[in-house]
Subunit: 353 residues, 2 copies
């Protein structure tokens, strides 16, 4: 089965001591603090948007890695500390991710509208996602010449999405600002500062081989992948992702759930490998599978945003029509992402043992 | 190149004499007359719909084959006769095809709406397409229980399409009835009756090998296929068919044209092979490629019908949204059909010489 290939335990390599986990957590905590410092310095200046975006991304990145390691290597860490820390890190990275997600979703949808309008690719620029700098509209409106190539419906749909997602982004921006100024955040930052020098490993951790715990994360991933409808996903144009596209249920497609779950498990597994072996060499196949699942998530949420915009009262039929086309287009992106995941996963499992 | 594999001239077989063309045209003319007789007998009775549909299909079938042979083997037939006959046969099969096309389009669209609504497959029954019997609604409205699973938008979109395409079908039905009662039709039927016993071959035809002319039809097909964007079509989820999905141009997608053209050339080539070798054994790959192109045409026209319905004044936004989803769904069917064509065509060309 695939399991053995996902097992980060290279049979030719020896055991990995628990001290490697200590090193990994310390380095991630250091990254977190560096990103936080950079964010405070750059976020204050209006022109520092690019750096502030990078800093916010780096903050999320290390928060996710620390949180993931706490989960995968739970038995080797102080239980009470670990159980307090994880939800706080999840809250933080979730809060910081929201603004970026709104902006990225709008960019994806406007790009798709332009593609569907048959206009030449145009540069949809997402200005720096700055936490600490005022949030303008996420994506500038297409120039007049570009807009003229859209039907009225597509242009109106674009304007509606821009309004709704910019509002959501502004709210997410305020929430993130509040979060970063809260005592709750300061408590997390203090704990990460301690972690940078002192990792609360259990007494037994130092003598424990990390490989079985990392392997277990691979097994959880494999089990979840096995439960996916991969045979269907491997058949191009199976039209599965758009089933229920017009169902009365306004909730996101329930069929997407297991794929989102695999995305999280794959990420946890990737971090576990990182803790053991660093990220060099990167497993490109695991990376490709992860990228397909990110695309799946993004398209799924973009499709939901188009459907949600179509429920706005009093929109013109032409606007609704364009949003319907857009929704279906993104659901096909969902299907395409599943196909891409299937392809990269197949490569993974046929890899020589 | 593919050409040699498409060449109906089996190199192990000998030349095919022009008399085979005479036999083929005589047998198709006989089929035509039998279908016409059957249609007159069954079309009169109200309960004879099933047979009347079969008869109309058989009429179209033989008209297309006679017309196609007149084109492919033009140099072997009396020019004046041939040039008079072809447009009349094209008029006849085109007129007879329209009613069937409207009904099939509605069936396809209602099926898609049900799929998109996430309702279980339900039997969309197309009552017999009868020329000579009154044309009722092509597809019965879904039962109340099935309808309840649709959103309001999907149900309204379905009702709108049903209204519009049933009207188009009724008109096509009247036109076909008028055509079959016209002196123009009787003139064609008389000519076909003569053809059943006496094929106007040129004096040289009997001694001519049919294979080069049939091969030329294969070459025209191959040349047209070569001009298709097959590399793109072979990449699943290339999102090409929906480009321009929201463009202001209400005309059918111009990108579909070359595919429609290949569909016609493939049909001509298939008939040419039939004239030489009969339809036993059927070339299943050529058949599969042809079916993919039929699906391409059907989905293309269904997508256009959904877009056209969305331009109906004063429809509800929910209806327009459903039509947008439906349009995009059918454009993805177009893309899927191109992929399927690519797959069967590849099989064709890798066939051992």
């Amino acid at each position: 089965m695939a399991q053995q290939h996902l097992d980060p335990t290279d049979p030719t390599a020896g055991p990995v001591a628990g001290s490697a986990l200590g090193d990994y957590l310390r380095s991630q905590a250091t990254e977190f603090l560096r990103a936080l410092r950079s964010h405070r310095e750059t976020g204050a200046t209006a022109g520092g948007s690019e750096e502030a975006v990078d800093a916010a991304r780096a903050l999320r990145r290390s928060a996710r890695r620390i949180s993931g390691s706490l989960h995968t290597f739970r038995p080797l860490l102080d239980t009470e500390w670990s159980e307090q820390m994880r939800p706080e890190l999840a809250w933080l990275s979730g809060t910081l991710a929201l603004e970026h997600a709104c902006a990225a979703r709008l960019e994806r949808l406007l790009h798709a509208l332009h593609r569907l309008s048959g206009s030449a690719a145009f540069p949809v620029r997402t200005p720096g996602l700055t936490i600490g700098a005022p949030a303008g509209p996420a994506v500038p409106a297409p120039a007049a010449a570009e807009r003229s190539s859209l039907t009225v419906g597509a242009a109106k749909a674009g304007a509606l999405l821009e309004r709704q997602l910019t509002l959501a982004r502004t709210r997410a921006h305020s929430t993130a600002l509040q979060a970063l100024g809260s005592s709750r955040f300061h408590a997390v930052a203090d704990k990460v500062a301690v972690l940078a020098s002192e990792v609360p490993l259990t007494p037994a951790a130092a003598g424990t081989d990390l490989r079985p715990l990392a392997a277990a994360s691979g097994e959880r991933l494999t089990a979840a992948v096995t439960a996916l409808p991969l045979v269907t996903a491997g058949h191009p144009y199976n039209a599965e992702a758009l089933v229920h596209g017009l169902s009365p249920d306004p909730a996101p497609h329930p069929q997407d759930g297991p794929w989102h779950q695999v995305r999280l498990l794959l990420r946890l597994h990737r971090y576990a490998r990182e803790a053991l072996y660093g990220d060099d060499p990167v497993d490109v196949r695991l990376l490709a599978a992860g990228q397909a699942l990110n695309r799946h998530r993004d398209a799924s949420e973009a499709a939901a945003a188009a459907a949600s915009a179509a429920r706005t009262p009093r929109i013109a039929p032409a606007t609704a029509y364009a949003l319907g086309v857009l929704h279906a287009d993104q659901r096909h992106e969902v299907e395409a992402a599943r196909f891409a995941f299937h392809q990269s996963w197949q490569k993974q499992t046929v890899r020589t043992p």
